[in-house]
Amino acid sequence: MNVSDILFYFLSALAIGSAILVVISRSPIYSVLWLIVTFFAISGHYIMMNAQFLGIVNLIVYAGAIMVLFLFVIMLINLNTDAKPQKGKWLRLAGTVAGGCLLLVLVAALKNTEVKGMGVQVGTGDIGLINQLGKALFTEYVVPFEISSILFLSAMVGAVVIGKK
């Protein structure tokens, strides 16, 4: 087991563990903080796969901008820990059973998957570099790239419609 394998397993365990903590934390502030840890771990994966640009953008956009927005919103609406709505016992049981079933099915399905035993492939791809990414975006994927502007435009129009008096 070399360094990259150890790093891969460490980052994966960190990502999964902090993602679970996002869900089970009682205070929303803790959830947001654990989510930031998850993003850092995923950025680590990107960087190991030689996608430095994606890793940094992931940090700047998600861990930076969006999470700060999250924290501000939570501070503004001033959520206390006891303000959390109490779910019924049966509802919680049903949720646990349903989620557990999904987990069981996914684990059973992916246990024998085709990529079994393959760790991270360090330094093999170069699509995550800004040079390659730009080339791919503006040659092969230029149509979806331009079309996504419709998506953002409609989201902006929507924000104005909802926000205006």
Binding site: L110, P144, I147, I150, V157, K165
Partner: protein, 459 residues
């Protein structure tokens, strides 16, 4: 491609029309003009005239089926704008923006009907969904509308997340987004492909509101302003079905036998839940929401059988269902009382509207000589031809019989019960257009081949 570019451009034009003029009638005329341009440009593309020569890298494939479906949809939207344009103006202050969002949805619809990579599928479904979240909540002073919008947004983004995860798993197994590659190499279900397939199936079932992913539908359709419910229940649902069948025909035909049973069970559950629950509704708007679930059950037959005949059937069903539902909603949103009692005595006070409404209801119920009958007939016959699914066909027929009850309750209220005269704001143009729509439904019901032959006419 014509329609995709033009609808995006026309969305921007609609936004600017709000700056240039404050007269809503002008805005409405510009919107109607836009949809006519879209319809004509699609028909021209069917005849081989392409305005834009982009290199699409095989990401969007505009074949006869998708172009013909787009024409049908644009025709339905034209009817919708003409019938309900005035009611869009009553929803709120930002009328040009509503039209702009509707045109952006149409851009998404053209993508959903002609995508050839999972990337385009995702973009198309998102471009359809995001404007709809906003249109659902556009009646800002109404608490029910706000609740519906939030609920739709949360559930919708969750199902989009499922779709993304499915796409990621499929990409991990096949190293390609392209449907041709996925379809060509998926000869057996490996674990990653089957997990991805199931997640895609669930998210698409959510988008078309098939049971057990239908829980959002009644609340959202009931809470949203009536005009936009009409749009969501018809145009968007039909587009989601086209995306559904394109995805599963293109990607997973070879392993059809392995997932057919799951889809058959979803279909049976959708038919059963949609029809049985619709019987107990008191509000016609909510009944129509459940009826849209049960109609989705019939359209699911196309996904179950997946043949060429299924494409014909789905195209025809989309036309029949959209026209009838747009007509019913156009009448409903002009009424003050959305319950069955609101229809009491309509046959006496508004005979023309009642007659048109009767045709729409008969078509939805699937009575012979209307388009709805031939549509259901097509769906059931493709399921019979697919073989070994006779139990599903029997459930379908039983549920169609149940649906007659709640559609005929409206007809009964209109003709056999007395009621106060309700004010329904109508002009001669509205009545004429309702008459034309009803006539078109009967025409399609008597000459179904007229539409279906078009599939093989433009080659």
């Amino acid at each position: 491609m014509n329609a995709l570019v033009l609808s995006a451009i026309w969305g921007v034009i609609m936004m600017f029309s709000g700056i240039i003029t404050s007269r809503l009638k002008v805005v409405r005329v510009v919107a109607v003009l836009g949809i006519i341009v879209l319809l004509l440009s699609t028909i021209m593309e069917l005849n081989g005239t392409k305005f834009f020569g982009f290199n699409l890298n095989g990401m969007l494939v505009f074949d006869t089926f998708s172009l013909l479906f787009n024409s049908v949809i644009f025709f339905c939207v034209l009817i919708y704008f003409l019938l309900s344009g005035k009611d869009i103006e009553k929803v709120g202050m930002n009328v040009p923006d509503y039209y702009a969002l509707l045109f952006f949805v149409l851009a998404g619809v053209t993508m959903a009907s002609s995508f050839n990579t999972l990337l385009m599928l995702f973009l198309g479904i998102e471009i359809i969904s995001i404007p709809l979240y906003i249109l659902t909540g556009s009646d800002k002073r109404n608490l029910k509308s706000n609740e519906a919008s939030l609920k739709y947004f949360l559930m919708g983004s969750f199902s989009t997340g499922l779709m993304l995860m499915g796409i990621a798993l499929i990409y991990g197994a096949k190293a390609s987004f392209n449907l041709d590659v996925i379809g060509g190499t998926t000869t057996e279900l490996t674990p990653m492909v089957s997990a991805g397939l199931l997640l895609l199936l669930f998210s698409m079932a959510f988008k078309v509101s098939a049971a057990p992913f239908h829980f959002w539908t009644p609340d959202v359709y009931d809470g949203a302003p009536g005009v936009f419910t009409s749009f969501m229940a018809t145009i968007v649902k039909a587009a989601a079905f086209i995306a559904f069948i394109r995805l599963f025909r293109g990607g997973f035909t070879e392993v059809h036998a392995k997932w057919q049973l799951i889809v058959a069970i979803i279909t049976a559950a959708t038919l059963f839940i949609g029809n049985i629950t619709a019987v107990f509704q008191q509000s016609v708007k909510r009944m129509l929401a459940y009826s849209s679930i049960s109609q989705a059950g019939f359209m699911m037959f196309a996904i179950v059988s997946l043949g060429d005949a299924a494409l014909e059937g789905l195209l025809y069903y989309a036309a029949a269902y959209c026209l009838a539902t747009i007509g019913v909603f156009a009448i409903l949103v002009r009424m003050k009382d959305y319950t069955y009692d609101g229809f009491n005595g309509m046959g006496k006070h508004h005979p023309a509207i009642a007659a048109a409404n009767t045709v729409f209801m008969l078509s939805l119920a699937g009575i012979p000589a209307t388009a709805g009958f031939m549509a259901k007939f097509y769906m059931l016959s493709v399921a019979i031809n697919a073989g070994k699914l006779l139990w599903l066909v029997i459930i379908g027929i039983l549920c169609a019989a149940v649906s007659v009850y709640y559609y005929f309750r409206v007809i009964q209220a209109m003709y056999f019960k007395d009621g106060e005269k309700q004010e329904i704001e109508t002009g001669p143009g509205f009545k004429l257009l309702l008459g034309i729509t009803a006539g078109f439904i009967i025409f399609l019901g008597i000459f179904p081949q007229w539409l279906i032959e078009k599939l093989y006419f433009f080659l």
